[in-house]
Amino acid sequence: MSFFVDTAGIMLVTPLMAFLAILAVGKRMKHKGGEIAVAALAVNLVWATVLFVMNMTEGVLDQTTFEIARIGSGLVFELGWVVDGLSIMMFFLVNLVGLLVFIYALGYMHGDVRVPWFFAAFSLFAGSMLILVGAPNLVQLIIGWEGVGLASYFLIGFYWDDLDNVKAGNKAFLTNKVGDVGLVLGAIILGVTIGTFDFASLAEAATEHAEALGAVAVVGGLLLFFGAMGKSAQFPLHIWLPDAMAGPTPVSALMHAATMVTAGIYLMARVFPLFENLAEEVRPLMVAIGAITLFAIGLLALVANDIKKVLAYSTVSQLGYMMTAVAAGGYTAGLFHLFTHAFFKALLFLGAGAVIHAVHSNDLSDMGGLRKHMPTTYWTFLVGSLALAGIFPFSGFWSKDEILATLGTEGYTAVMWIAIAGAFVTAFYMTRCVALTFFGTFKGHGTPHEAPRLMTGPLIGLAIPSILIGAANIPGVDWPGIGNFTDWLGVRVVAMGDHHAEGIDYALAGIGLGAALAGIAIGWLIYGKDRSTQEERDRFEVPGLFPLLRRKYYVDDVALGLVGATSGPVARFVDWTNTYILDGIVNAVGGATKFLGGIVYNGVDQIVVDGIFNGLSAAADGAGSVLRRLQTGRVQQYASGFVGGVLILVVLFVFVI
């Protein structure tokens, strides 16, 4: 059995191999490479399930790393995988939901454009996500982080024929990048100070050498949180998620609901000891941002007319719940909500995809009365909505209740009441959505039909855990032999203190449930009755609030304004530098060279060198013209010279020497 633990790294590799295989041969296959993607995740799911069961029964804790590079004798860069409670949970989640979404996508993307590239990029995403969750250190986490960001960019802008989709992809990537700056800086600061990037060492340093880290921990923690804000769409870096709905629905289901956006929460959980012991000043800030996200963005779902946008705002709101919980110290609460949310939010998205597939439109005004036409979709969507709203006994109820309990026990009472209000809002907008989609008369064209089996299968597959999985973490309940969710998570690389309620706080649970039911009731009151036109539908309005909501709090405009205001002057400055300084240098060098060349040519070459040679030849010429006169051709003159020479010699030898 330890075979699965030792070879757990195979899960990180198979989707990447699938990526390459699909690029190579996907075109020729019946489902255009989707089979390869499904097969890869199926193989992964085997490992994930075995590890999950092993962890439930006996607890698994292992880490395998390979050293890649080393700076001097200090920082070491390693790649590998860690198998502990947290990562096993994530492996299981990513592979299971991923497999179901992939199967769904086989049906959804059938006959669409560029299907092999879709599955290739999707597999790339899956591989990167697994690399991220299996990361034993910050470096590999960042590698996976960037990988999912890249895959997200590809898939959001999948239908790149429409420029808006491309812009949405850019927006997602760039907003993530803003957060990534914080992530990388935080990783560097923490890694260099502690001397290693490894999570286990980080946790150990945080718990044992607490004083030595001091301010570094605060700054590092803050920066890491900033990175998490980008990826997990916390206010104000949430702006990319609604626009990311431009991608195909399976993408929205898997990446922007269940997995990628939860990477930020996962990171916070991984470095939890840092926040727990040292960066305590940061936590209230994190809680506050989580609370704002939770409530304010949740409100935006009230005015959304695109079914996917409703779900997108809902996702952001739920991410706010998770972040608040983890920041408040509810390690288990936040992660349990992540776990349940993955199932029912993916389910909701896939259901929305089925609806869109049938109606050929995302707009709620084109829907209505689909309950009769698409029964499976209706029932599964309903299940998902009830789970999201937090109705007993669906999974969402248990996870949301745990969050409320944690907030209460940690002393964040105000935030707790905000969360309860958020539950009311959640139920309200989901009721609106369900009512406008499935009830009343159909306001679109033609006759919608139920989705094919490839799509309804995963819907059912996701609905079941949405109903049941809440049982994994009923406070005070400890299932025989396997423990509960807290125990499964408890097997961590470093043991950390955690806060888990011992028993159900019935009062709090009742208040939460009451808020949700009230939301459903009021929502049904307003939207349950069938209206014929969208204006009538939109007639319900909270004055003052709804116009603000419709402009999305002007956050997008502020962001755009900031970018526009800074990039213009920056670009102009760079252009000036280029033209005057860089080009100036180059031109000056060229001019100087030309000038020097002129000097050398005119001065040195023409005058001196040529002068020497001309002078030499003139001298030879002159000497020649003079000396040739000796050759007169007259023998007697030669004879005279001869005699004269002999005379001189005679005189010389006889008289002088």
Binding site: T632, G633, R634, Q636, S640
Partner: protein, 101 residues
């Protein structure tokens, strides 16, 4: 008789031969001047022989050689003069200045 008188005589003849060599325009006359110079040399040789009285009469033998070579030289010289005269119709040495600049 002292040796000097012969040497001075030979010197005078030699000088006259040089003068003739440099002054005369006719090639044949130039050759005659050369003969004169050779003759002066002969006188010198015999005089020295008489002075030294070598057992093998070296000076006299040498003088015989000079005479012989002079004869050969005159033969060739005149043959050349003949050819020049045939080609150029003139025996004036001033006309033979083709090998000039």
């Amino acid at each position: 008789m002292i040796v000097h008188q012969f040497l001075i005589l030979a010197a005078a003849l030699f000088a006259m031969g040089v003068y003739g060599l440099l002054v005369r325009r006719n090639i044949v006359l130039i050759l005659l001047s050369v003969e004169l110079m050779l003759n002066a040399v002969n006188i010198n040789l015999i005089a020295f022989e008489s002075m030294l009285a070598t057992p093998q009469a070296i000076g006299q033998v040498f003088a015989i050689f000079v005479i012989t070579v002079a004869a050969a030289e005159v033969g060739i010289g005149l043959a050349i003069v003949l050819m020049i005269f045939r080609n150029r119709r003139s025996a004036n040495v001033d006309d033979l200045n083709l090998m000039r600049w």
